[in-house]
Symmetry: C2
Subunit: 219 residues, 2 copies
């Protein structure tokens, strides 16, 4: 379950292979033997690292969430304006979707069809990721940048629903290009920011952009 | 399949009963015999109206969508301002969720777990319902009320994702009250309107509210 450094490489190869296989055949039709073949390991090797196919899916999901949270906190740490943090959150989410399309497909399409996963698995990493949204909203309200009546819980779930649905559209529609995904991220961020900002929030954000000119290059 | 007026009552009773049973036991664990018992009809009667359990679910869904579109078009027909139409759309959606909680639960929780439904069923009524959003956005852009860069397709899917996720939260969380659902609808509408409106859109909407004072009572 906890591979040491020497074998960490195989562990990661198995996860990468699993995502490819899940995305190609769907989770339920995927076979562990096929994952082993794609990873270039013996079937039995997989069971040194994972209990079963569900365990592989959950581990792949958790490792991606951990990576996402780490990158998010790094990116947010460099920013001061809550509205700019929100924009960065949205951009980062879509950039990870773009870079890990197989995983995005498995999460948005396959996972939500798994009753076991949806109902029995206590998804703490995911909650932690969403929690970052409500933290930013509270910070913005405290600083007078976000309207006082805005409810962090509604934004947290509503924003996630919005980006998840648009991710699903990207993943399912093969004609939808990577450039379009960037446009989607920018449009979602712009709408949300205008939708929740105070006049002070708007003015300070504009001021920041004028002086730095770098506000568009955070992610 | 097409009950006449004399038997339409049984048809509707079966649909109502099915939603109760699906919501209570989950779609997959529900039995046709249980639906018959709750509807107060003989098991065989159900097959006079429906092919099987999947058919009941699809018919229930389609009838609700038809009712929703009819009510939506009635409500929108009384309005002229595209941003006010958008607010009414969002409010109406949540008010239907509130009035048909069993159906909302079945749709948001059960349907998305059905691969057959998600992938094989061509969901035309649902597409028609979503299409109303992009129509409103286009109208608003034409009238200079909505910013020209706003993409109707992004709003259509993004807004649906947002209200669907918030509906899921309402349906799954028993402590979430009906009053809170109204607040959610108002907050979502307010954020979206501010997020996409032009200065002209904002000013005309404010003007309308001042003169009518009735803008809050459309649904």
């Amino acid at each position: 379950m906890s591979p040491n450094n020497r074998t960490g490489d195989k562990h990661d190869r198995i996860l990468d292979a699993a995502l490819k296989v899940f995305a190609r055949h769907g989770f339920f039709n995927s076979k562990v033997s096929e994952i082993a073949r794609v990873a270039g390991v013996a079937d039995g090797t997989i069971y040194l690292y994972f209990k079963n196919k569900d365990d592989i899916l959950i581990k792949a999901f958790e490792e991606t969430m951990t990576m996402l949270i780490t990158r998010l906190d790094e990116a947010l740490g460099a920013l001061t304006h809550p509205l700019e943090k929100l924009r960065t959150y949205i951009r980062l989410h879509f950039s990870i979707v773009r870079a890990h399309r197989d995983l995005a497909e498995v999460i948005t399409v396959e996972l939500r069809q798994s009753t076991k996963f949806m109902k029995e698995y206590k998804n703490e990493k995911f909650q932690e990721y969403l929690q970052r949204i409500s933290m930013i909203i509270r910070e913005g309200k405290d600083q007078g940048m976000i309207r006082p009546e805005i409810q962090p819980g509604i934004i947290k779930r509503g924003l996630f629903g919005m980006i998840d649905e648009l991710t699903l559209l990207f993943v399912l529609s093969k004609k939808y290009s990577v450039d379009q995904l960037d446009q989607v991220a920018d449009q979602v961020a712009e709408i949300l920011i205008r939708g929740i900002q105070t006049e002070k929030g708007r003015a300070t954000l504009e001021e920041m952009r004028k002086t730095s000119g770098a506000a568009n290059g955070n992610v």
